[in-house]
């Protein structure tokens, strides 16, 4: 994993075919392309499920959300399950305001998303 990926994605944990992607820090225009690239690297490793853990993301802007929308399209085409977990208050707000909270499979915790 190169340095840019390490900055945005803290770790990728593999649990029974599921990739749990632990993201850290604000995801705004300064980091969203790096964020998207990191997610695509995980996708290339052909997981059965991707769990994006957003517990340590205080803020996400529309470019970060757009990265997840693009990932969602790709996971659907390839039959991969995508789940978002542990959204902080502000991150949940942007999904609600854009009405994407009904589009994504959102879980309160990583454990719940894995179950």
């Amino acid at each position: 994993m190169d340095e840019s990926i390490r900055q945005c994605v803290k770790s990728v944990r593999w649990i029974s075919g599921s990739a749990v992607v632990d993201v850290q820090g604000d995801v705004d225009l300064s980091r969203s392309s790096e964020f998207q690239q990191s997610l695509l690297v995980v996708m290339d490793q052909k997981p059965e499920r991707i769990i994006v853990n957003l517990a340590e993301v205080p803020y996400m802007d529309s470019s970060g959300v757009a990265s997840l929308v693009k990932l969602l399209g790709r996971t659907k085409r390839q039959g991969v399950v995508l789940r978002l977990a542990a959204l902080t208050v502000r991150v949940r707000s942007i999904f609600e305001i854009t009405r994407l909270d009904d589009v994504f499979d959102i879980h309160a915790t990583v454990e719940e998303a894995l179950s």
């Binding site: 225009l29 803020y59 802007d61 529309s62 470019s63 757009a66 929308v69 502000r90 707000s93 305001i97």
Partner: protein, 148 residues
């Protein structure tokens, strides 16, 4: 303890660098908090300013990072809210880009404007003197709107 709001408008000059966005978000958060906005309102104003700046960086300046952006946060002229103006010197916004896409057809590219129109009470784009665009956004306190 909540700090008293500043007695004059706050003016910020930043570059069109995405790395400046977090600094502006912090300033907007602090001002809204001192005015007495609740957490939901603060989040909405912070998001709107952030999305507006992102649009300036992307569309007015085509991602060039060293161009000027002026931001004014003024709560002194409104008894019940804040007025925010964002001025750039870049390419003027085309009229079709000032209207958010239909809500049932959200695409990644239209999310920013959708967020701004959803979160603020008023947004208005005008040509700036000498070139560029001024975006004015107003957010009023929830309790003030409830009295109407």
């Amino acid at each position: 303890m909540t700090k008293p709001p500043p007695d004059r408008p706050i003016r910020l000059r930043v570059f069109s660098s995405p790395t400046h966005l977090a600094v502006v978000r912090g300033a907007v958060d602090g001002l809204c908090r001192s005015i007495g906005f609740d957490e939901d309102c603060i989040t909405r104003v912070v998001m709107s300013v952030d999305e507006a700046l992102t649009n300036v960086i992307r569309h007015a300046y085509d991602g060039v990072a060293d161009q000027p952006i002026e931001i004014e946060l003024d709560w002194t002229k409104l008894p019940d809210g804040v007025r925010i103006s964002i001025r750039d010197c870049g390419r003027r916004v085309e009229r079709e880009h000032m209207t958010p896409p239909p809500r049932d057809n959200l695409q990644p590219g239209g999310l920013g404007l959708h967020i701004m129109t959803e979160c603020m009470d008023r947004i208005e784009y005008n040509p700036a003197e000498g070139g560029g665009t001024v975006l004015t956004m107003v957010k009023r306190l929830e309790q003030a709107r409830g009295r109407e």
